[in-house]
């Protein structure tokens, strides 16, 4: 992935390129550690580290708005709720429990199903826009104004309808969770 993008890209040459490789390896390492850890809290901490490193990669790619939102939403919000649930359930794994149980065979079968399309896209897509235009993430209609503005122009003008549809979906899911969570409507004040 690093090689495909670094070829000809102004963003990922020199120090930035090496930083990207470092971050990418660390992301992979922490992601593996999430699955490998026996203690769910340790898994959650590795996942947190992985989210923060992904934010670093976004910032390295000059998509600083996406990086900050990644930290704010995933590291600051969602992971806190994850930890909250893990601590409420409070299941400390007993020593000797294997980290992987019986999903080995299914996982090995499914691996090519996901890997082959992924590698195909990586191999054929040239990422031309990014390679030729380092300001791809910060320009609106040819004018370089900044990542925050670029994202908001895309979100609230070009893709307003999909954005609103997605938020309605989330609202529906939220209402559904509230309805399922309530035992009966009479008891709740």
């Amino acid at each position: 992935m690093g090689a495909a993008e670094a070829a000809g890209s102004a963003l990922l040459t020199g120090v930035a390129g090496w930083l990207f490789v470092g971050f990418a390896l660390l992301i992979l390492g922490t992601a593996i550690a999430v699955v490998w850890s026996k203690n769910p809290v340790h898994s959650a901490l590795f996942l947190l580290a992985s989210f923060l490193l992904v934010a670093c990669v976004f910032i390295l790619e000059e998509a600083e708005f996406v990086g900050a939102v990644q930290i704010l939403v995933y590291a600051g919000g969602i992971m806190v709720l994850f930890l909250f649930v893990i601590m409420l359930v409070h299941q400390r794994t007993a020593a000797g429990t294997p980290a992987f149980q019986h999903q080995w065979d299914i996982a090995l079968l499914l691996l090519p199903v996901f890997l082959i399309p992924f590698l195909y896209i990586l191999g054929t897509e040239k990422f031309t826009d990014i390679a030729r235009n380092p300001d791809a993430f910060r320009a609106v209609a040819g004018r370089v104004i900044g990542n925050t503005e670029a994202v908001s122009w895309l979100m609230f003008r070009d893709y307003l309808l999909p954005f609103e549809v997605a938020s309605v979906f989330l609202l529906v899911a939220m209402i559904g969770a509230v309805v399922l969570g309530k035992r009966s409507f009479e008891k709740v004040d």
């Binding site: 809290v41 708005f65 704010l72 919000g77 806190v80 909250f84 601590m87 925050t148």
Partner: protein, 394 residues
């Protein structure tokens, strides 16, 4: 003068922040807090170490450093060690984007601005970094292997996630006025508009500061460490330097909340009403001192709240956050947006909104005073004359 390159000066500024802020916390804020609380509670406060107790910080430091570092028997050792570090580092990192003053001249042809970095996602960066600080408290509570610590950590998680929402939304209303996330640009715009955003953003400021008090776990929202129920909560099992780190983290977070309040709502380093001719003498005071004075005022408010407000109950805290603050902050965004659309391209709408908020504020203040006076008159009238006399004497 080759040595004073911008990169070198940045390193110097980073070192200054990391070295000076803990010292200010230990020697100035903690002492001020204890003396002011002593004054408000009609007692003396620490007055033995050094003249008027000014060296109390040194005594506290020596005590904390020489204390035994206890780790509970079945605690998660590494996480127990990591938690205090996680509480401090985000708070100190966030200080990097706070603009404390315009450029100052160090030597001929060498001047440097009083901020480490002016990034164009400044405010968002602040929100993101400070939202990481909660992990110190949650993990400290969990790793201690203690029921009370655990409850403190869980309370803190719920509280911080809840109050981050109104805090973010109250700043969104200000972003409509600033059109920039850069904190330097926010101050500059207040200078150009000749208007501090606290006036059109009075409601925003109220929501922001109340959420800020909740975010820093301070009275009246200090439920994660409620000593009467949780024997000090998440930090029960911490002693010595690790405890000092939690302490430093809490106070550094207070400084951050105050700095953001000053920068976003109170014009940062600008003197009050600097464009008014009659008040131009205020420019004699250096900008950095204006900034410090304003931040100091907010730290004082924190201390003032602590010694005057009773603590909320946890369900009251959640009800306040979700049923009042979040709807109110959404309404506030609509109000500010309407004020901006009222006079497109100009700022008259915001000025008028400022006057409106100011008038409403004064009206509410006088109504509250009137109610207080009426209640007092009723209370005195309902008591027999004799008891009133004795009560007055006592």
């Amino acid at each position: 003068m080759k040595i004073l390159t911008p990169t070198f000066l940045t390193y110097v500024k980073v070192l200054l922040i990391v070295a000076v802020v803990p010292a200010i916390v230990g020697f100035v804020i903690v002492l001020a807090e204890r003396r002011i609380m002593g004054f408000m509670q009609v007692r003396l406060g620490p007055n033995r170490v050094g003249p008027k107790g000014t060296l109390q910080g040194l005594a506290d430091l020596l005590k904390l450093v020489t204390k035994e570092d206890v780790t509970p028997a079945r605690a998660e050792k590494f996480v127990h060690f990591l938690a205090p570090v996680l509480a401090v580092i985000p708070a100190l990192t966030a200080l990097a984007v706070i603009p404390m003053g315009p450029s100052i001249r160090l030597a001929r042809h060498v001047s440097t601005p009083l901020w480490v970095a002016d990034i164009n996602i400044g405010l968002l960066f602040l929100l993101a970094i400070t939202s990481i600080g909660v992990y110190g408290i949650i993990l400290g509570g969990w790793a201690s292997n203690n029921k009370y610590s655990m409850l403190g950590g869980l309370r803190s998680a719920a509280q911080l996630v809840s109050y981050e929402v109104p805090m973010g939304l109250s700043l969104v209303a200000v972003l409509l006025m600033t059109r920039s996330l850069s904190l330097v640009e926010i101050v500059m715009r207040q200078d150009r508009m000749q208007l501090w955003f606290v006036f059109p953003g009075l409601l925003s400021f109220f929501l922001y500061f109340v959420s800020g008090v909740a975010e820093t776990n301070r009275n009246p929202f200090d439920l994660p460490e409620a000593e009467s129920e949780l024997v000090s909560g998440f930090n029960t099992e911490y002693s010595g330097v690790k405890f000092a780190f939690f302490f430093l983290g809490e106070y550094a977070a207070m400084i951050i909340i105050s700095c953001v309040a000053v920068t976003v709502f109170f014009g940062g380093w600008l003197p009050p009403f600097g464009h008014v001719k009659a008040l131009s003498f205020l420019h004699i005071v250096p900008p950095f001192l204006w900034f410090l004075a304003k931040v100091g005022f907010f730290i004082f408010c924190y201390i003032w709240f602590r010694s005057t407000f009773p603590r909320y109950r946890f369900d009251q805290l959640m009800a306040l956050g979700w049923k009042w603050m979040i709807p109110l902050s959404l309404v506030n965004i609509v109000i500010v947006a309407l004020a901006i659309l009222w006079t497109p391209g100009r700022t008259d709408g915001l000025v008028r909104l400022g006057w409106l908020f100011g008038a409403l504020f004064l009206l509410m203040f006088f109504l509250a005073k009137l109610r207080q006076a009426l209640a007092r008159r009723d209370r005195l009238a309902s008591e027999p004359a004799g008891t009133r006399q004795s009560a007055l004497k006592a």
